[in-house]
Structures are given as C-alpha cells and as structure tokens.
C-alpha cells in the first residue's frame, strides 16, 4: 500500500493512505499516512456507522494540510484487538487428524442441512443489504460442500470454472461457504463481532468441521499446493495463532 502511494504521488497525484502496521508506515515513509489501531479488514473502522467512517476519512484528509512530508499521524480512537491478533484465529489445539473425519457423506449431508436451514435468513440478509459477497467462486451454494468433499476424499477434481484451476477455485469456494454463514448471522442476529463470528463458524458449525477435515487431508497431502495452502494459513484462520499448525513447519512464511 505504501509502495503504491509512492508511484501515484510520483505521477503528480496527491495521496493519503490509512494503515494498520505503524512500523511499516514509519519505514516506507509514504507522503501522507494515518495509522489506524483497528483490526485488519476494517479500514473505515465500523460497518454501518457513517459518522465513524467519515471521522476516519476526515482524519486522513486533514493530512493534506501539511506543507511538507512525509506525514504520519495516529487516528485518535482505537478498536481493540484480542491479544495482539488482528483478526480471529483458531485455537492451536483445534486440529483434526484424518482419522477424526469419519463418514464424509454424513458430514456433507449435515452441512447441506445446515445450509438449507440458514437459507431463509441468508436471503433476508441479501434483500436487506441489496448485495452479497458470496459468489466469488461462481459455484452455486448447494454445490459448495460436495465440491469440497472431493478434496477430502483425496481427489483433485476437474475445475468446473473455465480459466480457474481446481485448487484456487477450492479456496474461493471455502471463502464463499464462510461468507454464506457469516453474512446470514450478522444480519439475522444483528451482531458485528469478528471473534464471535469466527468462533461460531470454525468451532461450532458442521461447515467448520468440513473445512477442518479438508485441512487435515491437506496436511497429509503429497500435493504441494494443497500443503502450501495450510502451511501458509491461506484457508483456515491460523495466521494469528501462537505457533504453526501442528504437522507443518510454517516454513511457507
């Protein structure tokens, strides 16, 4: 982000950025930067809070008043994070082994039932918001679990989406599945709590168990890309965990 700002500024465009890692902003020295002590993924701080969002924008745009730079300022309000982690992280001890997976057909059926039960509330959420973020994969919702289950069975299926190989598509399907659940609950229950949403989805739902099963298979996989996905925490949220996923070295990082 700071590097991009340099290129735009050098093209005769005035820039201001907001950022979450102050040490990086100090080191790279963009022309104008406002440090935000917020969780990552919340650049304007709070969803559905226009006044707070405008405070952040005004705080950033105030830096245009400086006649010389680099200018680095701190936004005066903080949105606390838990134990230094910038988003939800799975408990390190919550790891499945392939021997824990059980009958994949049963697990898929349980996820499908869960998806069906959430559908009316998901549709209400989409109607209320006028948008959904589900669909980056372009697969239909009822095909998410069956597609994921093929990988759990140790197969790499043919990608149903032209131009997107199976494993990158798998990542998008996983993210679509989680978005389906969290879009539904944040709307249905009127809650905005990233820790609660992460804990519910990953630790309490059948869909979470399906993905932890996928992780277990990936750790044991001889497919380098599948292994890379788990070693680099690109699927299950372990980036902010205290220590690498057991069975991996985190060498990918």
């Amino acid at each position: 982000m700071c590097g991009l700002a340099h290129y735009f500024e050098s093209e005769g465009l005035s820039t201001v950025l907001v950022g979450f890692v102050r040490e990086h902003m100090e080191a790279i020295k963009p022309a104008r930067g406002l440090f935000l002590d917020f969780p990552m993924g919340r650049g304007m701080g709070k969803p559905n809070d226009p006044e707070f969002q405008k405070k952040v924008i005004r705080g950033a745009f105030d830096l245009f008043k400086s006649e010389r730079g680099p200018v680095l300022a701190d936004f005066p309000e903080t949105i606390p994070v838990r134990n230094g982690r910038m988003s939800y992280a799975l408990p390190p001890e919550l790891v499945l082994k392939t021997s824990d997976i059980g009958d994949v057909d049963v697990l898929v059926a349980e996820v499908q039932a869960e998806i069906d039960a959430l559908l009316p509330d998901y549709e209400a959420a989409v109607s209320s918001r006028g948008r959904t973020t589900v669909g980056a994969s372009e697969l239909a919702i009822h095909t998410f679990a069956p597609f994921i289950s093929e990988f759990i069975r140790g197969e790499i299926p043919k990608s149903p989406r032209k131009g997107v190989p199976a494993i990158p598509l798998l990542k998008l399907v996983v993210e679509d599945l989680e978005a389906y659940y969290t879009e539904t609950r944040t709307h249905r229950d009127g809650i905005d709590d990233l820790e609660l949403m992460g804990k519910w989805f990953w630790e309490e739902t059948n869909a979470g168990r399906l993905l932890l099963s996928l992780e277990a298979v990936s750790i044991a996989s001889d497919n380098k890309v599948m292994l890379q996905i788990v070693e680099m925490s690109l699927m299950a949220p372990r980036f902010w965990s205290e220590g690498p996923l057991p069975g991996t070295s985190a060498a990918g990082w």
Binding site: M1, C2, G3, L4, A5, H6, Y7, F8, E9, E11, L13, S14, T15, L17, F20, H24, A31, M40, R42, G43, M44, K46, P47, Q53, K54, I57, F61, F64, R68, G69, D74, V81, N83, G84, R85, M86, S87, Y88, G130, R131, T133, G135, E138, G163, V164, L172, E175, A179, T182, T186, D192, L194, S233, L234, P237, F239, W240, G243, A250, W253
Partner: protein, 151 residues
C-alpha cells in the same frame, strides 16, 4: 497501539520478515484545495466485479470498478483479516457512499467515476507498471487525489 512485537508468533514472524520497498526520494505532490479534490479510491482488498477473472495469488495487475458498482466480490489470497465487516457494509473498506456525501456537502470536490483494486499480498514493486497505468487513467478522468485503503 498493536505493535508487531506484541502480535502472535506466526503473524509476527511473517510481518517482521517482510521485505519492504524503499525509494530513493520522497515523492510529493502538493494537494489541491479541498473543494477542488476529485477523489479516486485504491484498495488492496483484491475486489472485483462479479464475474470478472479472480486475482491470482501474487497478482501484479489491477481491476477497476465504477462508483455505482456495489456487486463486488473478493478474491484476496489471504485470510488473516476480518471479512465479516465488508460483508455487512462495503463502505467499511471502500467508502464510496461517504465520499459522495462529502462531495454533496462540499467537503471535497467530487468522487471519481472509476476506482481501483490490487492484490495486497503481492510485492508492490511488481505492481509499479500497473499502478502507473492506473495513474494515467485517473489523470485522464481529472482525478487529482488518491485515497489508499488496505484490507
């Protein structure tokens, strides 16, 4: 303040070891008066319009979207940031509605028609060519101010 040294082990190690870009000079463009600002957003959230090609994991390229586009999806490779916020409100990462309100009230001049997204996981040095292409498009549209927002 959340310092890198206080972050949990895996994330701390990764962020500490990142190779940061360095530049020989400070690029500095004097800003125009607030009421003359035409603002374009640059996001590193790897969002794009539904149906567009997903970003690759270390993409050097970019996507653009119109200020009225709200049907955006995210294909960012990383999952270490909260996605539940933008699911609830696009403005929490791309505040188009807020900028429109500020333009209507005269706090800024106008909101650009086109806005841009990059893959934040990629090395920004590899994005230079794409960034300069975006800069040309912005200037062609009369943009003079860029608001950069990470994910």
């Amino acid at each position: 303040m959340t310092k890198i040294s206080e972050m949990p082990a895996v994330g701390r190690s990764f962020i500490s070891d990142l190779k940061l870009p360095s530049f020989e000079y400070l690029a500095w463009t004097p800003p125009v008066p607030a009421q003359s600002r035409r603002v374009s957003i640059v996001s590193t959230a790897a969002v794009s319009r539904r149906g567009e090609k997903p970003f690759s994991w270390l993409a050097k390229d970019h996507r653009s979207f119109h200020k009225n586009d709200r049907d955006l999806v995210m294909t960012h490779v990383a999952v270490e940031f909260d996605r539940s916020a933008w699911q609830q409100d696009l403005n929490v990462i791309i505040p188009l509605d807020r900028l429109e309100e500020m333009a209507e009230s005269g706090e800024i001049g106008s909101v650009a028609d086109e806005h841009y997204s990059f893959m934040g996981a990629a090395d920004p040095v590899t994005m230079e060519k794409s960034a300069r292409t975006v800069a040309d498009q912005m200037k062609h549209e009369g943009v003079n101010t860029v608001f950069l927002i990470p994910i």
